[in-house]
């Protein structure tokens, strides 16, 4: 087919967390510009399997940009060269014939490599366990329209809630900070009336867990916001800091 490209991949291969990894080069010939980046990897992998070689392991699932499972550092950028999309939505038309593409896993000590390009992001889950919820049980809640929420507030909460937990913010940050991720959840619930009762304890508990997991500090470089596939705003971090400091300042009430 005309327009197909011949590419070279430089891929990080690492059998498991206990073994050292290295870059390995693979040719990727005849790649259609209409393929998604992950479909390109599927094609390469099928070739490897045919030759009896272990396929390149990477995380992926929904392939429509919403589950947050896919990751990949592509040519030095989380989720590749385009703005506001995940790797699974990146298409090969963003590359050109003859190009060498470097593919790495997320690099952060809080995200240890499991195999090749797949990393362990369970630290994100543990931060959510610490306080990313409203303490209501099933049943016995008021009618959904009992509390009116101004549309701009609901919209702003939605914008924070749209985070997919992929970890690109951490991967983009020179400090491997998770502030953007944590602040998105803190903000969503801090903005809504339902989140008020536990607002300050929540900020405190989640930030403390974030620190325990070994994520770095925020130095306001803004790389996280620039690379976030869902365009989560850095102002969330300011909101979270305010709540966190308030919580610490008025400790007895918190």
């Amino acid at each position: 087919m005309s327009g197909n490209m011949n590419l070279t991949l430089k891929v990080w291969r690492q059998p498991n967390g206990n073994t050292k990894g290295t870059f390995v080069s693979y040719p990727a010939p005849g790649i259609s510009p209409d393929m998604s980046f992950l479909e390109m990897l599927d094609v390469v992998n099928e070739g490897l399997v045919k030759k009896g070689e272990d396929p390149i392991h990477f995380d992926h699932d929904c392939r429509e940009g919403i589950c947050g499972m896919c990751s990949l550092h592509i040519n030095g950028r989380p989720h590749g060269p385009k703005q506001a999309i995940t790797t699974c939505q990146l298409h090969m038309r963003s590359f050109h014939d003859g190009e060498t593409i470097v593919i790495e896993p997320w690099r952060a000590s809080a995200f240890p490599v499991i195999k090749d390009l797949a990393v362990d992001r369970s630290a994100f889950d543990r931060i959510q366990h610490a306080g990313g919820f409203v303490s209501v049980n099933t049943g016995g809640v008021p009618d959904a329209n009992a509390i009116a929420i101004p549309k701009p507030v609901a919209d702003e909460a939605f914008n924070s809630a749209t985070c997919i937990g992929c970890g690109a913010c951490v991967a983009a940050c020179k400090n491997a900070s998770a502030m953007l991720f944590v602040s998105a959840k803190v903000s969503q619930l801090a903005l809504l009336p339902q989140g008020q009762p536990e607002r300050y304890q929540r900020a405190q508990a989640m930030v403390n867990q974030m620190d325990t997991e070994g994520f770095g500090s925020c130095t306001n470089t803004g790389a996280c916001e620039a690379e976030c596939p869902k365009e989560i705003k850095i102002t969330n971090i300011a909101r979270m800091n305010r709540d966190y400091f308030t919580a610490n300042f008025f400790k007895e009430e918190a």
Binding site: C62, C67, H129, P142, I149, A154
Partner: protein, 644 residues
Amino acid sequence: MKLDAKIPEGPLAEKWSKHKFNLKLVNPSNKRKYTVIVVGTGLAGSSAAASLAELGYNVKAFCYQDSPRRAHSIAAQGGINAAKNYRNDGDSVQRLFYDTIKGGDYRAREGNVYRLAEVSVNIIDQCVAQGVPFAREYGGLLDNRSFGGAQVSRTFYARGQTGQQLLLGAYSALNRQIHEGKVEMFSRHEMLDVVTVDGKAQGIIARNLVTGEIETHAAHAVLLCTGGYGNVYYLSTNAMGCNVTAAWRAHKRGAFFSNPCFTQIHPTCIPVSGDHQSKLTLMSESLRNDGRVWVPKTKELAAQLREGKIKATELKEDERDYFLERKYPSFGNLVPRDVASRNAKEMVDEGKGVGTSGVAVYLDFADAISRLGEDAVRAKYGNLFDMYYQITDENPYKQPMRIYPAVHYTMGGLWVDYNLQTTVPGLYALGEANFSDHGANRLGASALMQGLADGYFVIPYTLGDYLATIGPKAIDVKHPAFTETKKAVEERLQKLLSLKGNKTVDEYHRELGKIMWEYCGMSRSEEGLKKAKKLIQDLKTDFWKNAIVLGTNEEFNMSLEKAGRVADFIELGELMIDDALDRNESCGGHFRVESQTEEGEALRDDEKFAYVAAWQYTGENKPEALHKEDLKFENVKLSQRSYK
């Protein structure tokens, strides 16, 4: 075996409340003596796990993804139905019940569907209380939109990411219980078998996908919330990992499988672009609120469009055929999914398809953009338009979208009674994994409703009854059934790993998908189905001889995971064919060419087929036994569905 659906006696509107009263309860201090396993953490699984843990049960939850938040419910776009009647437009529990029964082409149980409609209102309350940021109006109250198969606006939504927001709500409730120590979470684990002791489900065998360790987990009950099997078609809107393995293993341990041929082909998906395609992307049904579906009026115009000689935007009004509006004036573009899909196929078959492949129709927003403005359209559907642009490199604000039907949802699933219990005591199926509420066609925005209804508001009641009956005595993990089942799982894995042939597992999967789409897709015939059965049997034999499975069990091994899932899909495919062959009528998404009206609409045969087909596994390579549960309609009159 006589199937007993356990539908409570009495008037429809009183069945559920009466039943709840009659169910046995577990004393609060005894609840902590029970353990419940929940497999899958989508809407049904997360909501069930959280709600049961809140009640005091110990829960072990499993998912194959790296986090429970990534289950494929996350990708549901359009919305969730609830009979709130906030619009004052005539909605009610009765109407939601009726729309759902009719939409399902009268192949669902009245009792279950009524209960679903009844608890739908509680779901919205629950989600709002958790902090789910639903769309709101300027007055601060919740907004609604319309979906197919209904003439009222009852769909609640969060932009085009409703599933994401609902799942994150359920995930947050689950997180709270993990934090409390009531739920133990096992991510990157795949269930490979159910352990039954004296006919009762008492545990599972799961594989740790990172280390390969085969683990045994015991419990008083096992809940399968493992979603649908659309990936049997290879290409579908399901996530890459979605699979039937848990349900299929349970089937082989005695759980009957119901109506496997009832699959939903969603009308608005982005068309296939080439052989490399790994999955299909849905464009939410909500788009049909404002988008108009059309093809060129003549084959000649269609040919010119395909060759790029003219552009879609250049066609005049009288050169376009808005075929859904023309054929179904009262529902227009909002006819149910099965009807919209079949009509799109018909247009393509007539040679009026568009796009380079000719296998697509248009979904056009030009009218909506001129009526509401581009900004208003962006506010409603922005993320969907962006996704479309990303995938196709075409700007849907400037030219119509190209869409074509794709496999999206499976109405069939494990047979369950009114309590959501399968034919194996102690084994339950919730959400898309069961068959119960959508009949032969699911209405849009009803999957989220059903998943959460089952998890939040049904199972917390019905499970207690079973647990109270068996008592809190600890499960004996020393029972030989545990070691035997584990051994069987290990042997199967070794058998897969011994396959060193010349064809990749993906090649088999693609081949299976082609057979299923061709012969058991949007239209089915006796001749085609018989042919497909043979093709699948041959494929199975070939797979177990010539597939390539690499590596070892004791590692993160994509190759092995995929092989196990595809092997199960092949077996399921054959059962789907059997079911489609048996059901010699058309209903909902199941269209048998032998059974249609003069106008080409699905023609049911209520005399012969007003039943739920429940298939029983009888042994390797043996024909499955068909059991029938007769459907009784006491509250609705069966009629030919009309959306005209």
